[in-house]
């Protein structure tokens, strides 16, 4: 019986204007998306830069590894690039705002300390830095024509297909005729749901196939089998989102007596869920959870470093008083070298603590905004898509986490290598306290990025939950509604 109603709905839908519009607009948008992303500047350029950076890095590491372990230990493993993403056409995720690399090297010059007539040149060890484009002026517009955007439009179409599903039949008087048959209200509702769902999902899947074919044949974005699975997951996300808005449409349609009123409600709800709500919360979270600005963090860092420098005086001019670092570090003088190591580790610790804390605060703020905006199913859909495509802030957060893990791996590698050299003093991170022997460049650990899809799971659960919720709401409202 459900299927009979669904079939009737589908037949009815196929003849409507909205269906003709959707089968024009959807393929056009998907084709535009594939053309823009496969032929426009973007992925290929990013891959080139990435490969260039990786080679540069390898040369950098080999260069310093041959100079000696101590040199490598202080200069750091280089600038670590983030692997460009193939699936940005699915979810762009403000790709332009996200930094493409983190820095793990110190290319700055040597600092100098003078003792009498002798000048000691020392290098502050590398730290992990997160360059962020503070101005973000180049981001022209934040909405991109990616699959997420098309998904948002799909939710709009879901409204257009359901706003009169019940209210319209009620107005025409056919609703009471239908209910006079031996069919339960639940069946009618599910039939209508299925009808709308099939009419929306079939053009969507066809358009997605066209989109993928164009991208495959253009050859600019190569695919792997794992990406097929992720794209399949995205289709499921599309289905979940569309289904939510069908239920929402059925709810308003059964609740309100007049189809127009139902559309007004739906339209405004849609605008709220799609645009107003996510952006308001995004803007507002800055006040909810204020964090210090970049200038303040820099000031704080300077103040703390100033204090440290005051204590150790590593930039001594000849003839100045020297409270702690009285002499230059050298391999013959473990005590002074250890003192220098104390100072340098404290400097590294201060810098690292502040810059890590700053980026963590920024992440937390964005995370809070995202958590709050997930009240809107459209935002949840967007985040889930970004999660599957591994774009957006989640991918950057993961990247930063892995970079931090790599930082530890690299330091551990240096320390283990150093332990193998009996001539070394084993004092990290002072050049004189470490092994001066060259290391095998191939033995130096390489950064490898791994993708985590864990965050997607909660979002999928949320979307399923939204579906259940709106289904129940629509059902209850339909059960309680009048037939006339």
């Amino acid at each position: 019986m459900i299927w009979q109603i669904a079939r009737k709905e589908i037949h009815h839908n196929l003849t409507t204007l909205r269906f003709s519009l959707i089968i024009i607009i959807l393929p056009v948008l998907f084709v535009a998306n594939s053309l823009i992303y496969s032929f426009g500047s973007g992925y290929t350029a990013q891959v080139d830069t990435y490969n260039q950076q990786v080679t540069q890095n390898r040369e950098h590491v080999a260069d310093y590894a041959n100079k000696g372990l101590a040199e490598l230990a202080l200069i750091g493993p280089g600038e670590i690039p983030k692997r460009p993403n193939r699936l940005t056409f699915c979810a762009d995720g403000a790709d332009k705002l996200i930094p493409r690399s983190v820095k793990m090297m110190n290319i700055g010059g040597l600092s100098r300390a003078g003792y009498g007539y002798e000048v000691y040149r020392w290098r502050p060890p590398w730290i992990l830095e997160y360059p962020l484009d503070n101005k973000s002026g180049s981001a022209m517009q934040r909405i991109k024509i990616d699959w997420v955007f098309i998904g948002i439009l799909m939710s709009f179409f879901a409204i257009l297909f359901t706003f009169d599903a019940i209210a319209g039949e009620r107005a025409r008087g056919t609703l009471s005729l239908m209910m006079s048959n031996t069919v339960s209200r639940g069946q009618v509702l599910l039939g209508k749901y299925l009808g709308a769902f099939v009419t929306l999902i079939v053009p969507l899947i066809i358009s997605i196939l066209i989109n993928l074919l164009i991208i495959l044949f253009s050859g600019n974005i190569p695919f792997e089998s794992s990406e097929g699975l992720r794209i399949l997951g995205m289709v499921i996300l599309f289905a979940l989102l569309v289904s939510i808005f069908i239920f929402l449409g059925l709810f308003f349609s059964s609740r309100v007596s007049n189809a127009i009123t139902s559309l007004v409600w739906l339209l405004l709800t849609w605008v709220f869920l799609a645009f107003v709500f996510p952006s308001l919360l995004g803007t507002f979270v800055g006040n909810l959870n204020p964090i210090p600005s970049a200038d303040e963090v820099v000031k704080q860092k300077h103040a703390q470093l100033e204090q440290l420098y005051g204590e150790y005086r590593p930039f001594n001019s000849p003839g100045d008083i020297t409270p702690k670092l009285k002499k230059a570090a050298s391999a013959e003088d473990p005590e002074t070298t250890r003192l220098w190591a104390d100072f340098l580790s404290r400097e590294v610790e201060t810098k690292t603590r502040l810059s890590d804390a700053h980026i963590d605060q920024q992440f937390q703020q964005v995370q809070l905004a995202r958590d709050l905006t997930q009240i809107s199913p459209i935002a949840t859909f967007q985040y889930a898509m970004e999660g599957l495509a591994n774009t957006g802030i989640v991918s950057y957060t993961n990247f930063v986490k892995q970079a931090r893990r790599y930082r530890q791996i690299f330091i551990d590698f240096i320390k283990t290598e150093d332990r193998g050299d009996p001539e070394s003093l084993h004092i990290y991170p002072v050049k004189e306290g470490l092994s001066q022997k060259p290391v095998d460049p191939d033995a130096v650990p390489v950064f490898e990025e791994q993708i985590s899809y864990r965050s997607v799971l909660t979002q999928v659960m949320l979307l399923v939950l939204f579906n259940l919720l709106f289904f129940i709401v629509a059902l209850v409202s339909f059960l309680k509604s009048d037939l006339k």
Binding site: L17, L21, G137, M140, Q141, V264, L280, T283, G286
Partner: protein
Amino acid sequence: MHTLWLVIQREFVSNVLTSRFMIGFIVCLLSTAVAVFVQVDDYEKRLSGYNAAVREAETEAQNWELYYNINPKAHRKPNPLGIFNVGAENLGANTVTIELAKPVFELTYPVLGEPAQKRGADNPLLAMFLTIDVVFIFKIVLSALAILFAFNTISGEREDGTLKLVLSNAIPRDMIVLGKYLGGMLSLFPIVFTSLIVALIIALSSRVTAFDGNDISHIVLIFAVSLLYVSTWYLLGLLLSIWTKTPATTLILSMVVWVMLTIVHANVATIVVEKFPPYQSKPEVEYVRSAANVWDQFQKERDTYIKRRGYENLRDSIIWEPGTNPERTDRFLTFFSYGIESLYFVEGYILNDIEKADTTIFQEILDYQEPLRIAYADKAEAILNKPAEERERNAKFADLLSRISFADVYHYAVGTIAGTDRQSYNDFIQDSRAYKREIVEYLKDKAAFSSRAWFSNDQGAADLTDLPVFQQRRFSLAESFSRAYIDILILLAWNIVLFMAAYVSFLRYDMS
């Protein structure tokens, strides 16, 4: 006249009594209120950041003793109209540090010691959320309301059968179109008006926002343009209502047109231009390199001059009293800076025991060298500014493409009037360059380049009491109007075309 008034009245009453009027009214009011609330907060943050930066710069200025190392700052003052249309207020730099021989430029990758910087920004990552303001609400919500008011004006009456009855009276058809248009606008007017008033009240309830007469007149102009925009949508709905047979068809068609024009079109245009830029530029690094060449030329020209005067380098022109040791340090004089990867190339002189030196010739050479250095900085600036110019040209092209949709024409018109558009930002950067020239003129008038206080305070510090302060231009209503008039005209033209089309279509309307 009386019949026209009758049609208007009837249309107005039938609109106002519907539930969509009430819902639309409440939603529009609520969302405007919330948007203003958030934007006022954002403006307060910008303003306090600005005030702090200005204060800091003032304290810093009090410590200047030498002419050569003054670095006045141009601060971008937050625009109070940003509460209504935030536009580019949060984008780009908000402080430009003026250094005499440093070009003012903006590159996309961060450079150490950039002159144009953004201060007080707490989280650049939050920029990934859309920002929302009154104009955005108007652009999306009001247009939807206008369409929802207009879609059944003709096709609805046709379905109900009342259209025939109306036409059987002695009312000319043109009166009906005009009446329906005016009646619809009359019912939309209170929504726009009240929303804006509520927005204004919330904005004024904050302690820091102060609108002067100029701002208020700008807000009135924004209100007028918003009405024009709503009217465009209403006319489009009316036209579609005449062209289609049933209100259901009108509704679907106009909703799809609405979503395409307000949301899809501009974004497609922008991303197409972004991915296929019509003006391709060289990589920024190449511009930085050629700017570095400019400095090499400067060095050559300057060295020739010094040689001609008979000295090896600048410091040789200083005549020391016997018995002084010029090798030891306490003042470091920086002459010029440029860079390829790191911005600095420093040429410096250490001048100690300066009070025991005769620097007459040194000063004469400086009098030649420093204006030359500034002139070369302008040359370097012209080169370094090219990437930004390319970007601007591409962005302008994208704007042009998106102007096909009148929703974006409205957006640009309001941005221009409010002074929060991208052009206003570019003007700020231009103004900061003008400010630099002003400072140079000021120093020339004081003969500062050849004075001892250029590099030393042993014979009295530099006199900087009347140093010009950066003044940001604000536009008067007439100026704003003349900046935005093309967009306003386009909106007006759309109104006229749509009205004429509706008028003609209705005159030829087939009742059967």
